[in-house]
Symmetry: D2
Subunit: 447 residues, 4 copies
């Protein structure tokens, strides 16, 4: 801990005290001044007390006061430009190791040390994750706050390192406190209360989550798995809370049907690929007869892409009939039996083409595809009306896709994707996409 | 994770493979090249595999190979001087936020990201702490490796933040795995096997340790406490494994008679003050009748100081009789009853003066005094022949000191010490020191 | 384990095997024969296998087959009358210790040993508790099965001894498996789903349950406590799932508002008094400022008693007006504001008289009163319209009573009740009851 | 709980009080009178208080007072002879179910209810187990106390039913409290302190124990297993605390080299067969490549038998040379290399004969043989000088035996033993024994 210069320390302390007696409007200033006191505190025990005080006070700030506080974090806790300037000058004159140490110290944001010290307080990690969540909400209007976010994000990547995470199986023996959070967080296929959740934790299901020891009872990410006889085409039978529970020992397939990042405050700190890898391994040990590890995933940006290409005048674009249908907000007619085979063929072909060939900077446009393909999965099968729920229709036109994780191939597929962005797909899938390809190889990303 | 440039990635990979087939003499180079592959890896899952591989291989290196590896960490994973130079130049031209970001990235040591990635592997944290322990042993001969240490130390300060530590009470119900480590680690008063340890965990004793979730069963620091009727003068009755166990509910005093940092690899990451604070609090709750929280501490550098001042020609120096005695390596004669009251008075006066007045840069010379006084304790009592063990005689001439933690005063005392390095002592202690003071105020630190 | 005579053992085994191949109609006979094999088995390991087999087969019996099995338990596993007769004769001739041992062995029901052996199987205890639950349902029609019940009940009293029970606090961190059972079991004030349960486990509430180690996750009895400022008159504010949570540190009163025995199969094995005693102690330690430990209890047999005395021609009987009201099944009119003060006075007086003076065999008629008074509580206050819910009106005419547990008096009150069935009540309560008393001391129990 | 007759209850209470004030010589009477109060107590909560008081007072009794207390248990808490007589008379007149209930009640020892009530107190089970341990020590001199033992033993068989036991793996992560007890209890091959114990818990060993939930940290029985490449002939390499730890994944054999019943107070309540069965199952799951489950067991009564048959004039008796050697107390000469092959052959043949053919009531004379053979093991191999330790030589003449548990055969072997006391042995073993058999089939049991 840096040695505080006694005299200035005393002055600061007096300033804090005087501010403490002012009107509540100054609350955020008071918090910021206590933060300064914390940064110059030489005793870790006193620092702990100050940190506790700050987090408590921060928790009581309203939106406006928090806004002011974020501004103060920028104005008072950013690196000192003069200090940087002289460190830069010194290094330019003589680029030795001592100068480098000074330069590094000068450019490091004092906020990082501030956040590390705040973390010492009981509940510190939780409070900082919440602070970033609140900060991120304001960043659209205050892009300069990205500098604050960079500091928090840097720390979180270090603190939430895979080496510190704990994988836990979630089942009906798990505490209600955790289960209630699953209900609240689930983002892919909403959990309709406790009855629904209970079904998702029965003997033919598995649910795993990553936890961090400093955030007990707080899942960071969780995945829901169904153990089935075959690789399923449709998601709603898996979501039916009254479906029959089957004997998992007969299962040949493990379906990852939902994966949810729980903490907005940890956005950008990735857990998903570790989670899938670990779960594939654990399930493989528990169920040696399970051979297929597959997802049942949406194609969440398919419709957006279609609407984009309608006007792009390229070959890969919807027919007039399809375009007319897309023009109506409600595409639920697609789910009807009355739809012509031609239209259905057209849509599935377009979707296969979208997943395999529509790219940006060499990578698939679709975010779900990017995630699984980069993880080493392959595109296996396209399922017509796999999810005819309103959300499924609105975003994916009801289509769902199975990505498959083959243990023996995952690493090789990942390498191929990492080096050349090569997308691995089944023959069936490639044939489907090819039928859609015209003579001109169109790439949306080349616009 | 930064996007690896595919082509160079491939070349690197081929280099790694070719190295893999070479002679075992190249083992450390192979490890270093795999480290480069890990740094440029874009898949976290593949990164995890590489990290596991590296830590395994590192674990098999002999001393010589490890030495080579540390050199490679310096030559291959230090910041790029050219990159720094151009970032410095860019910032000098236009000190905007984007230039600052680039500058910060340029000065950060790639080792930090390397260590973060290594930490992802199972047992990663443990392996990195061991790596730093091994590194520190070589630093005397290789001061340039301080740069590596700075990176590890920076990460450990962040990872072993107080907010991530867990306080645990240690008793006879604790696992043998942990207890065995206490026996091995105890540095102040050696534990003579299981029988001795058992006595230190009886009903009239308390033992607490900090743990980190990523290092299960591995104490970071522990403290041993005796619950006694009065503040004790001598340490050996506390250390007697066959002493009678007393009813702790009658205790009025809690004596901290040993505090040990367990992990050489975490040197400089301080836990002690948090531990004492927490333990004082917990004991206060458990035993409301305990009023005195005191240490029974050695004066580990007293004799060294005496030998230093013998020749310094200052007023505070040993008498001829005492100097003659100090000249003999073995000072055990002091423990005899035959020693004259004059000599005893002289020694205790000198010791009191040493603790209160001998300073360097305004702080007490004695490291134990510095630790407790900075924590807010006060110097209470000096105990003649408190520890006549060979080690106690050799370092402290058998003297022990009680530092006292008074809950109501701790913060104020700490402030006084932090601002002005004011040392708080009992009247008795001050009087003792004064009798030793001549007219000229001598300060060892003013030499 | 008694030594089986090899030859008969073999014959039995063959009989079992032959039965195994018969039609499913013989399933209950097959189970009974396997029970005989179990009783004569000399190897504990083989016995364990048989026990497992029996419990599995028993679990698949339908109602009719179970009925047959209970009959077989009577006919095949009751003490042997001839053996008793000769043991009785032998003892009559020579009442020595050996004869006593033989006599005791002859009268002990072989079912007890059978049940002890069944208990060895995994899940044995759970299965036997379920068996008794099923048995008890049939006892009305088959009073001779009380002999089977006596055996199970004897074992359960021994196995569910207080010394083997574990008290656990239930809160929102408890597993969903246990919480779901609370919802299902709660008998006093139904829990309306998870939202309701969550409120009952907030910071100003406490819930405790007894568990037995052989029945993990299975509460035997649980009690719900509200921490309040004052002793409450009405129950519905406590039951409102949307009521505000108050700071428990301000509480002065702990209200036991619900206590539920969960296991029909453990009927007659009492846990309630231990639970209340323990909870009073634990709460007293956690909240030293809580001075009043009170119940808010129904008067469940008040209305039944009223209907009984209407025609009894005694002094303590409803007025004509009240009698008319009681004659209508729906007494919800009582909850209206329009009810005359006279009628209200009459009802409360009668209720006080009922609780204090209506007795049978010297003990209060009301079962809730008997339970709490025998535990050492006293009758404190009668609350008009404490529970105007349909069930509250139907049984208690909406009246609720506070019984109070005063730590200092509990033992003395219990003694007074145990020796002389003296009922301790507040002055207010006694005055209320007295106004109801006519000149002739009527006791319902004296009819 | 039976309703106490108030008046007599009061008199009893007064008697207890008056006794309380007498001299300490009456302490055991005071305890006994409090026991009477406990038996007639109608409140379970007051009962709990009395039980706690009794156990505390019992714990302070010295040997003499405890002796008096055991006598009081006989005189004051045995069944009432007059009550039995009239119940017997009533049953003789009319053997109906009501009379049977009365007869059963009359013959049951009041001590059983007393012990059940004592068990309710905290630590009750532990105290009762200790009481039986102390009782058993006195039974040789007081055979009439077998009646007390019968009551305790009956309860313990019920309470320590297999269904209530918990199997736990013991390793170096187990609490020191438990491990210290293993060191103290180990009866087969003494554990020489913590260093020795640690070796027995390394990666190539397994240790399991049964616990009862009411006796936490108190092992009831434990077994030590070594994972080895082959079935071992000698025990000392397994006991060498400095032997090398081998990789357990290569093991083909699991050797049970020690099994210890820990609680003298639970003598006669058998756990061993369940333990072995469970451990064979668990090890089979953990190490699928382990095919052989074998013991390495002493032949503890071999030498005693030899000394017995020397004078019996039968064919199976030691040669003159051997008899001379046996006559010397110290048989350590056998362990020398100088011993003639003839003598060695004679001894091994006699030992094989002893194990296979020396019987009493149809069962093997050797208690270890009886235990394993009844469990379904078979006699596999006899190992010359398997245990040349002083105890091994003194009892087994250094011979050790491998009994083998073959999962597929265990049940069949057990049946054969249970029905006909057939002893299953390897061909090698039978041949060895046969060479020892003369023409006249001698059975020690036929004397």
């Amino acid at each position: 801990m840096a040695q505080g210069e006694p005299a200035s320390h005393r002055r600061l302390f007096e300033r804090v005290l005087s501010v403490r007696n002012r009107a509540p409007a100054d609350e955020s200033l008071r918090v910021a001044l206590t933060c300064e006191a914390l940064l110059s505190e030489t005793s870790e025990v006193s620092g702990l007390r100050l940190a506790t005080e700050i987090l408590h006070a921060y928790g009581t700030l309203d939106d406006a006061a928090r806004d002011t506080f974020f501004d103060l974090l920028l104005t008072r806790f950013s690196p000192d430009r003069n200090a940087i300037a002289s460190a830069v000058a010194a290094y330019s004159r003589d680029p030795g190791p001592a100068q480098l140490v000074d330069l590094r110290a000068a450019v490091e944001s004092p906020r990082q040390e501030l956040f590390r010290r705040l973390n010492m307080a009981p509940g510190g990690t939780r409070a900082l994750v919440a602070m970033r969540r609140q900060l991120l909400r304001t960043i659209g209007d205050h892009p300069q706050r990205l500098a604050i976010d960079a500091d928090l994000s840097h720390l979180f990547r270090s603190w939430f390192n895979r080496g510190f995470l704990v994988l836990q199986r979630i089942d009906w023996r798990t505490s209600a406190l955790v289960l209630e959070r699953l209900i609240r967080y689930e983002a892919v296929h909403q959990i309709q209360g406790w009855h629904d959740l209970r079904r998702r934790l029965e003997a033919d299901r598995r649910c795993y989550a990553f936890f961090h020891p400093a955030l007990p009872d707080e899942p960071l990410i969780f995945i829901e798995v169904a153990l089935t006889a075959d690789m399923p085409e449709r998601v709603w039978p898996l979501l039916d809370p009254d479906s029959e529970v089957v004997d998992p020992s007969h299962a040949r397939c493990a379906v990852f049907y939902s994966i949810t990042n729980c903490q907005d405050g940890l956005r950008g700190v990735s857990f998903g690929n570790f989670l899938i890898k670990q779960v594939v391994q654990d399930l493989g040990n528990e169920f040696p007869r399970v051979r297929t590890f597959a997802t049942l995933s949406p194609v969440p940006e398919f419709r957006k892409w279609l609407e984009h290409v309608i006007n792009a005048g390229t070959e890969q674009r919807p027919s007039a009939q399809f375009a007319a249908l897309l023009a109506t907000t409600d595409v639920s007619a697609l789910a009807d039996d009355g739809i012509t085979p031609e239209l259905r063929n057209e849509i599935t072909r377009l979707c296969a083409w979208y997943l395999l060939c529509a790219k940006e900077n060499g990578e698939p446009l679709d975010p779900v595809a990017r995630f699984h393909l980069a993880n080493g999965a392959s595109l296996e099968r396209l399922n017509w009306m796999g999810d005819p729920s309103p959300q499924g229709m609105r975003r994916s036109l009801g289509i769902m896709v199975n990505y498959v994780y083959r243990i023996a191939d995952v690493e090789r597929h990942h390498e191929a994707y990492a080096r050349e962005h090569r997308v691995i797909a089944s023959h069936q899938f490639e044939r489907l996409a090819k039928r859609s390809s015209g003579t001109v190889k169109f790439r949306i990303s080349e616009d």
